[in-house]
Symmetry: C2
Subunit: 559 residues, 2 copies
Amino acid sequence: MTSLRIALCQINTTVGDLVGNTDLILRDLERAEAAGCDVAVFPEMTITGYPPEDLLLKPGFVRENAAQLDRIVEASKAKHCAAVVGFADGHPDVYNALAVVADGTVHGTYHKRHLPNYGVFDEKRTLREGDEPMKLYRIGGVNVGMSICEDAWIAGGPVPQVAAGGAQVVLNINGSPYRRGKVYDREQVLADRVSEGSCSIVYLNLVGAQDELIFDGGSMVVDDNGQVVHRSKQFVEDFAVVDVAVGDPEPIAEPYPIVDVTSEPVERSGETATASEWLDPLPELYEALLLATKDYLGKTGFTDVCLGLSGGIDSALVAAIAADALGPEHVHVVLMPSRFSSDHSVSDAEVLAQNFGVDHRTIAIEPGHAAFLEMLAPSFGDREANVTEENIQSRVRGVLLMALANKFGWLVLTTGNKSEAAVGYSTLYGDTAGAYACIKDVYKLDVYRLASYVNERHGREMIPESTITKPPSAELRPDQRDDQSLPPYEELDPLLEAYIEGDATVAELSERFDPEMVARITRLVDISEFKRRQTPLGARVTAKGFGRDRRLPIVNRFR
Amino acid sequence: MTSLRIALCQINTTVGDLVGNTDLILRDLERAEAAGCDVAVFPEMTITGYPPEDLLLKPGFVRENAAQLDRIVEASKAKHCAAVVGFADGHPDVYNALAVVADGTVHGTYHKRHLPNYGVFDEKRTLREGDEPMKLYRIGGVNVGMSICEDAWIAGGPVPQVAAGGAQVVLNINGSPYRRGKVYDREQVLADRVSEGSCSIVYLNLVGAQDELIFDGGSMVVDDNGQVVHRSKQFVEDFAVVDVAVGDPEPIAEPYPIVDVTSEPVERSGETATASEWLDPLPELYEALLLATKDYLGKTGFTDVCLGLSGGIDSALVAAIAADALGPEHVHVVLMPSRFSSDHSVSDAEVLAQNFGVDHRTIAIEPGHAAFLEMLAPSFGDREANVTEENIQSRVRGVLLMALANKFGWLVLTTGNKSEAAVGYSTLYGDTAGAYACIKDVYKLDVYRLASYVNERHGREMIPESTITKPPSAELRPDQRDDQSLPPYEELDPLLEAYIEGDATVAELSERFDPEMVARITRLVDISEFKRRQTPLGARVTAKGFGRDRRLPIVNRFR
């Protein structure tokens, strides 16, 4: 029984930062070499960042990514440790590729064979499917097969094929986006592949957020019995050294061609990683939202955020996420009471701001509110007040937040949740105005759960209990409450999930829910598409967010 | 020499309006039957509308579309004329299909073989490629082959294949989006296909706008010498009866299987269509913008629009488009002068409103402007005025327009052009606030050309000459002019086109343009992606608009 010493280099790349990403690769390659590793494995499209989208259509982008691969080749000279790095290969056809680099040369490349083109993925748009014959790489004396992300999700696909061709260990490099509980699906998929072909699988995932996607890390090693023998951390960079045990190579009738990289291991030093456990559901979701918010800020070059704090639960949760992700000194909350705001809302908001120790200020919106009513009076005449006047209040707040952000270089966080986004319970250019929507893919019932979790996590009542327990209200007219316009969230959220994530038809939904409610809510979801199309992106945490994975037309008469 | 009498049914379908689209099919099928046609041809995905996008992922949508096909089958009973209609076929795999319907039965289906997955197209996301053996249909005694859209763009593809298999006429049904001058590309492609296989091609295109796409119609018939013998109208529905001459079928070594539909023609009546000419470039572009605006309103259920009229050329052009597309009685313009507006801007705007006879009102923004400065004074202290205060003015205008639209049920048109959208010369939630951006894909130099064309078209100076000739300015501070922030549009527009449509790198651009300007402008384009992502959709008229055909990440460090 021998083993392959692998460095799982779960790094946080940034799309388009070719030099910076390569710097991270070189940093971890040094650490891997120092630990006596045979191979250092990096995430999918390491050099470009993932997903690069239409940047791949720019020939100059692909050229400059290839130039960075040269830096890695140069750094690999006189090292034992090989590097398996992701990059964009080729011109004019571009492949989602990995290179096996060692001792100053590229020993070979592998092109991803199965390109996902569903959900959030558009890989067939910019990439070509790999079709070259597969090879094995003898690394540290072990026969290693290569694969990229989706390749491992295909029953009978490249992973069992290369195992049948003689691979003792299969490396699988990933840019696999997070959704709640996905780590367990991945474990099952990898166990299924192992059951099809006798090999160990090293699953290396990207960590970090990119636009609406969160990559959760959670790299792992599955042995040839299908047991998970190593789990990397979730939602943070992680560098783990793992010795993957391998038996003697079995005799193969028709082995794949073997590329010799290194024939034996070298002296090993330092500790190997121990397998940790996955996070529980609520901490997992909260950590996802923290990483998403932190990376969106950091990767766009912002340090500080501002947001409107209403005294309600949504903005309370977003303030908590911002403070926990960025540090309270980088969070600026603004209370913007109107003639309709309740006293308890203002006091709840003040208590929360003090609990988190964030900068807060109060700007009453009455002067702006009154000015607009005055400017519009000649046009409106004696028409009754309606949603128009409610929207004006929300938009005055939006203008104030944007002005503060513009003046002080902050970024505005919006506070709407998925239930509201679904039914259009928001004001375009009002509460939807901002650059990043932290909880846009979190249903209202989960907002409540997360708010309670925040208090549990901090060990004290950071979010006032009254914020969590009072009936939700937009406070845009006297005595307004959400349940005057919407069903209770206990009924609404399951219906929304079945319609949005489940693509159920109205007829199917009407068998499970009140038909009148189904008709009304699905219509609201459909006609709100124009609103969602103008709202900021935000962290995707479900199987189908309102973003790149739900592409419905705005002009759409299907009901 | 015999002929096939074909009805080119260039109809304007609406995505998701399964019943309404089928009603249009039945209407034109009756007309075709009355004229003694052998076959009536309809555009791609006729029943669903095109492109249906992720509606195809809803099993109920595909089911209901199939039910509408049954209505057509029923209507075809006891008719001579066959119908070739597009629909979504199958479950769980869905195909972009056409059905050959006649005499109460579906004689066969054809599945699109080449699915575009680039530019504005995502067909591999929701559809499966056709792979069934091809067939011929004997219609009116003529051997007819079938194909769908992209199939005809493939050299050596389905069109020459089915011609080699015995087709005398190949029908090609399309949902081909407009871009400027594309009709000539299509003529060339069809001539190329004819040169590969001896057949006539009937190219039937959709007309109408869907979200950002414009389908321009312009259906045509190309004879077996590659000559265009019929051109349908552009940008309007058209019903054209064309007799396509065919020689005797040539003996074929291995003919495709033949499905008998009708063995002979019937008595013919009425006039056949005469070939018209394509529109000249400026009228073509203007008609495209009219159709786009009219359809966006009509298909979303709106009748009236409002927009801010600044006295500048962009809003003048949009007002003209709105008045010409919808009728002046449906257009409401709002002059919103500030403390920085010039007298000539106000008077130019008033003259234009009077020339077009549109409803107009003036709302000075000073009360709102002053109210915001007052509310923000405690936060801003004695900081210098900068772009923050400019944005406030623009956002006050946005709030006013939205309030009028909310109160009166209008739809707000935004007035930004492509040059501005490219470099982010706009205020989010200010001048970008609205539902539809008529000229978002029109570069500034073309805005000038179109404004002059509007006056030519109307035979008088509808847009004041001073609006066209004065230096462009946002008038957000004293004596502001565009050329203080941007290069002259004569330099800017060609650079933008090379960068956006051409995907040229900075290095490549620096060989053609001033390197300092290249560095500055490309950076502006890159960092403005977050703005564009929150702006309304609008008519796409170039080879690459800022929309579904340019998918660049917001978080992106590549420069």
